[in-house]
Symmetry: C2
Subunit: 749 residues, 2 copies
């Protein structure tokens, strides 16, 4: 930009804030269609079993119950994608759907049906260790080759580790190697080996999964209203499951009450299949407990990590085995975890094996920065263990070994330009770090976290209205205020105040393509497309103005709602008039309609560094955060309010990973904490004062230098907290979450 920004770079209220906080936003659950049926799902109570009897008689006797549908009842060529056929493979797998005229009738029908189904239990494997044993029951006869597409939404990086032969129930195995790790370990002055475990973490969105599907009785066209992070992805999944061309499926993105990776295409094909089967609109809204039971949380992970370091602090070797419990379907972020685990620091000798193992637990999905908190907890804990053993400052130790742009990642690809070092320097110079106090039970922990960033092609349209206002037409889902960011980008380019620009989010029938919202890529890719589209519209406007004013476009500027000859305000034409000249009977110019399209841009990884100050109560084991610093390279903050919201919210979730969260399954594979009364997420009282520090190392590709900011802030938290606890009370906890029990148990008595 040649001139100072007028609109961007200032904290701006989100355009949809008011309707969200007043409860006026329309969610999927609010939809009522004529003739709509309410669905409830019968979920398997067993991790592995055969359905031997399913008697619908009693359920169908409930007044208002219209149908009981199993996978076998679906029309030919239609699949539900994940309703059980004969064998259930995890506790919580849908076995049948009860469809009724009301939610209450559906609930009654479900109760009767549950009493009329018999299972024959089969041996189940509930942990990767059991699953990989020779002769273990196979979770899937032929596990699909996972192409990591879900994960690519988040981090589009090539997993070029070799895929090698796999033990029983291993869906995917990646191997990244460089140098000679055995030699590296031999040459090290210090070798540290630890095993780190992280828990299965639910995305804990406020709104459970919800979908309404309706079939047009004449055309057969399908409309799906979905609480989703990506309506194009849902469209593709529904079309595929129903064997229809994509243009017969319209997906309307509703307001989303939180996603955090849990709301990519999920059970929309099931709901659409039910609607096709009964030829009536069908609504399915999960209860909170059902959502905990059957949805797709982030997977638990075990990482055995062995590192070798020279006395001067030079890392020389890293060897690791990462094992994800992928549940009953492949899709765990093994490759990303491997790349990040070995990617933050320069290390000449490296050997990482990353496995996805199938078990009879619910399949997992994406959780904000999939694989990154797990890998980062391991490497960033280990960095502090090494620093402590060598008597090095943990920040200086990190700075000494931190990768620079161009250094290789474990997959051999070079790191793109990024700001790891500036972020670490900002941490080193932060007053909270420089002035740390020594007090009993109080400790400080630092950790970094990086995210390669999702990449996607992107498109956007910017249309003028004939009163001089503008419409940005997009196919995004706005989870975090990105629509407001797009408004600011367009307003900046067009030279108008933001209130003259409206972002109109379209359904899959009308929207220019946008990938799902996730992977810290919405502002980065779609924002760039909006900028191109606004520039295109601006060019068209200036060209019309130039013709009307008999001036060169280069001499024109847009100001105060009009185009004027620079320095000659009396030679001016209002934007409204320009638009009108392009959109009316007999218009002599083409309609002002800007178009922006781009392929996946170059990657701009985002790095964060966190500092946690903690006080640990040695009696109760309670770790209480006293202060928190969130430093992040955001490239350029187009809407600092929204960026701060992302950094703050991500850091809070990181506190959940570190201290509170984890889904607990008993030995029968039954979830023990499937409600918000039992599953602990951070509450306001758990959140300490936070200092939010934005570092701005501009991206070459992002709009106005912006980088994706969504995932990085959730990554370092657990490690920073573990390091702070170690600093406070001298014990190293390697299992997440770090509950009071675990601390008490670890403390020397």
């Amino acid at each position: 930009m040649r001139r100072e920004p007028r609109v961007i770079g200032k904290p701006t209220r989100c355009t949809d804030g008011l309707e969200k906080v007043t409860g006026a936003a329309r969610y999927t659950e609010d939809i009522r269609l004529p003739g709509m049926l309410y669905a409830r799902l019968l979920l398997s109570p067993h991790p592995h079993a055969r359905v031997v009897r399913l008697d619908r008689t009693d359920a169908l006797r409930v007044p208002g119950v219209v149908a009981v549908v199993t996978e076998a009842d679906l029309p030919e060529g239609v699949s539900s994608e994940f309703m059980a056929e004969e064998e259930v493979r995890y506790t919580g797998q849908p076995v049948a759907a009860v469809l009724a005229e009301s939610e209450a009738a559906a609930a009654d029908g479900l109760e009767r049906l549950a009493a009329a189904v018999e299972y024959s239990e089969l041996p189940a494997v509930l942990t990767p260790a059991e699953a990989m044993r020779d002769g273990a029951p196979l979770v899937s006869e032929a596990p699909e080759e996972d192409e990591d597409t879900e994960m690519q939404a988040h981090a589009t990086i090539a997993a070029e580790g070799v895929k090698e032969p796999k033990p029983s129930n291993v869906a995917d195995r990646y191997h990244f190697a460089r140098g000679d790790v055995a030699r590296g370990l031999r040459e090290a002055d210090l070798v540290v080996e630890r095993t780190y475990t992280t828990s299965r973490i639910h995305q804990a969105y406020l709104e459970p999964h919800a979908t309404v599907a309706a079939i047009d009785p004449v055309t057969g066209g399908i409309t799906v209203y979905a609480s989703t992070q990506g309506h194009f992805e849902v469209r593709d999944a529904v079309a595929e499951a129903l064997g229809r061309p994509q243009h017969e499926v319209r997906v309307v993105p509703m307001a989303v009450g939180g996603g955090f990776g849990g709301k990519f295409a999920f059970f929309e094909p099931l709901v659409a299949a039910l609607a096709v089967t009964v030829r009536r609109p069908v609504r399915l809204v999960l209860t909170r407990h059902e959502d905990f039971l059957m949805s797709n949380p982030g997977p638990e992970c075990t990482i055995r990590l062995k590192t070798g370091v020279k006395r001067d602090g030079t890392l020389v070797a890293l060897q690791a085995r990462i094992v994800f419990d992928s549940g009953a379907a492949s899709g765990a972020p093994a490759s990303i975890a491997g790349i990040l685990l070995g990617g933050y620091y320069r290390v000449p000798h490296l050997d990482i094996e990353a496995l996805e193992v199938l078990t009879h637990k619910p399949p997992n999905g994406a959780y904000r920065a999939p694989g990154a908190p797990q890998a980062t907890f391991a490497i960033e804990s280990q960095m502090n263990v090494m620093a402590a053993e060598l008597g090095l400052d943990p920040v200086e130790f990190r700075l000494m070994n931190a990768v620079n742009p161009g250094d290789p990642m474990p997959n051999g690809r070079p790191w793109a330009p990024m700001g790891l070092r500036p972020v670490l320097e900002a941490l080193r110079d932060h007053p909270h770090w420089r002035a740390r106090e020594k007090a009993d039970g109080v400790g400080y922990g630092v950790a970094i976290g990086g995210w390669p960033g999702g990449l996607d092609s992107a498109s956007a349209c910017v249309r003028a209205n004939t009163d001089g206002t503008f419409q940005v037409v997009l196919g995004i889902v706005d989870l975090t205020g990105t629509a407001t960011t797009m408004q600011l980008i367009a307003a900046e380019v067009l030279g108008v105040p933001p209130e003259r620009v409206r972002v109109a989010i379209a359904d899959t029938d009308h929207a220019p393509y946008a990938g799902p919202t996730g992977g810290s890529k919405t502002t980065y890719t779609i924002g760039a497309a909006v900028k191109l589209a606004a520039e295109d519209a601006r060019r068209q406007i200036l060209s019309i103005a130039a013709a009307e004013l008999e001036a060169s476009p280069d001499d024109l500027e847009i100001t105060d709602g009009k185009v004027q000859v620079r320095g000659t305000p009396q030679k001016a034409i209002p934007l409204a008039e320009i638009a009108e000249e392009s959109m009316r009977f007999g218009a002599k110019y083409p309609p002002v309609f800007g178009n922006g399209q781009l392929p996946s841009p170059e990657s701009s990884p985002g790095f964060a560094a966190h500092l946690a100050k903690v006080r640990v109560d040695r009696e109760t084991g309670q770790a209480r955060l006293l202060d928190y610093v969130v430093i992040q390279d955001v490239g350029f903050a187009i809407n600092p309010a929204a960026v701060e919201g992302q950094m703050r919210g991500g850091a809070v979730q990181g506190i959940g990973w570190g201290l509170l969260e984890g889904m607990v399954y008993d030995e029968h594979g039954t979830l023990a904490n499937g409600t918000f009364a039992d599953y602990a997420i951070p509450k306001a009282a758990d959140v300490p004062p936070m200092d939010i520090v934005m570092v701005e190392v501009p991206s070459d590709s992002g709009p106005f230098g912006a980088k994706g900011v969504g995932e990085p802030p959730v990554i370092p938290g657990a490690a920073a907290i573990a390091n702070a606890i170690a600093d406070a009370v001298g014990v190293r906890i390697t299992d997440l979450p770090i509950t009071p029990q675990r601390i008490v148990r670890s403390l020397p008595r």
Copy 2:
């Protein structure tokens, strides 16, 4: 096009036919919104009066009635556009609205309100003759300067006749002159003078006017569901009436049950103003009788026409005075009528005065080819009178004088390239004309009709889907199957079968701009934009394929759902794969998204020639059509089935003009035939066998040579029928409709 068309040029069923004929299409009346109120309007029973008392008490006592709203109750800055303030200016003008929880309660409330309103009657002028008298009461203190914008939707031609000082109640006066008309008349061998009158004609759509408006309780944004020919026009009108920026108004175009010019922006601002006032959704659906009373039909017209001709058939002078009864607001098509009246034939001396006169009758609007049937009835009747007097063949007489492209219109502008002569030649050579039989009471009449064509800028988008199908995103309203035409255009360009292309019509939030549907310009302008957009998408596809196949784009062709190297079918890549490569995580190409924009193209006037064969019963005066020939230059018929539908339907409406239709007002300004029981439109039994003949003189600007085809077929009918009746029984009827009474009265006794 280098190759033979594969898709276009073949009769194709309209994509929305099934839902229309099965009743499954959703019309505005079908909408039910939570909290929606039903509105009924109190219509004035007097043509001119003051409202002296309006007591709401009784109406508000009706259970379910929520509010009675007058113009004075609207919030500041909000206008209803046409609800009366204190003075009513026509019978049928809305005076107040009753809003109730049900249609029945609204009807009851309306009845009570009607009984509780008192008017003080004022002197009214009900005909242009009365209105123009010195000292006549003024219908409007300061009639707005009419810019003919409504009419420009239909025929974008400059009315460069001079506007001159106007008598009382004359809203607009155009004067077109060329040569010296007095000299021309002196030099003529034959001078004919006649006065022609045409009636006020209702568009007689099946679906009465209907609108639903809802205000978002939080954002204040307005959504309007409308039965309209142009949702952008409605958006602009609503935003203007409510004092809002356009981007706060979203207009959703619903299925339209017929428009024929009657459904441009109409009472949508009133309904939106009511919704703003009561802060609840409001629905207004007119009853059939209300629609007859208050909607905007085509205006009655009186034309005094004096023509001079040489003995050899050369026209030398044309003098005319055209007077439109515009009702209580300006907007009659005076300028177009003047241009057409003097535009079909070369005439060196010409003087045309065209007036729009305000009266205390309901305002008029557009009727298919506004002004053209009126002007054409006059000139085409007159042509036959002259031919008969001179003993000339009426077709040869027309061919002798017909304008050629480049000849001046009355406004001095040259006629664009067009096919008047080929159409007349096709008529001359048609077997029905060549082999006309002589029989008592049987006659043949011919007439031509031309339409300059509406012009508008246009835009369209064509998006690929990742399964190899396509979406055409448009802002049009499809009244006549144009969406199917757009589908064919895109499929032809993209080289795929039509079923792989879906036309998705978007609301004003998401659509690329399209002008209202009217004026024979949708296929002509938007079709051209779709072609550009599809070509753009095709270029993007070929460029991706070229990169993937390592070939030159010039060597590639699209066939069978894939792109292949011409002559090397084994070197191919499916369209689905190309789309996928452009729209997925990490896509290396920009999304395939074609964009087409164009300014108003050059005009391609459309000409038609009709031949009517009639038998007149001298006893009853009944004129019965025996045969009918509809010849039209359509440029190129992209979907011949749809073009034939237009030609046939227009011709049938022309029969209505000629023989049946006319709104009758009594001396108090009260409509006498305001129901379909009283207002006669053609029924199946009134329609003779029709021979539909398409002449194809390709347009340089229309897609694949297509021209607009909507208006021309309604234009010549009345004149052809009048000429046939004159041929059959020797009497010249100059007043429309030509009822049996008029014929009987004219026959010599």
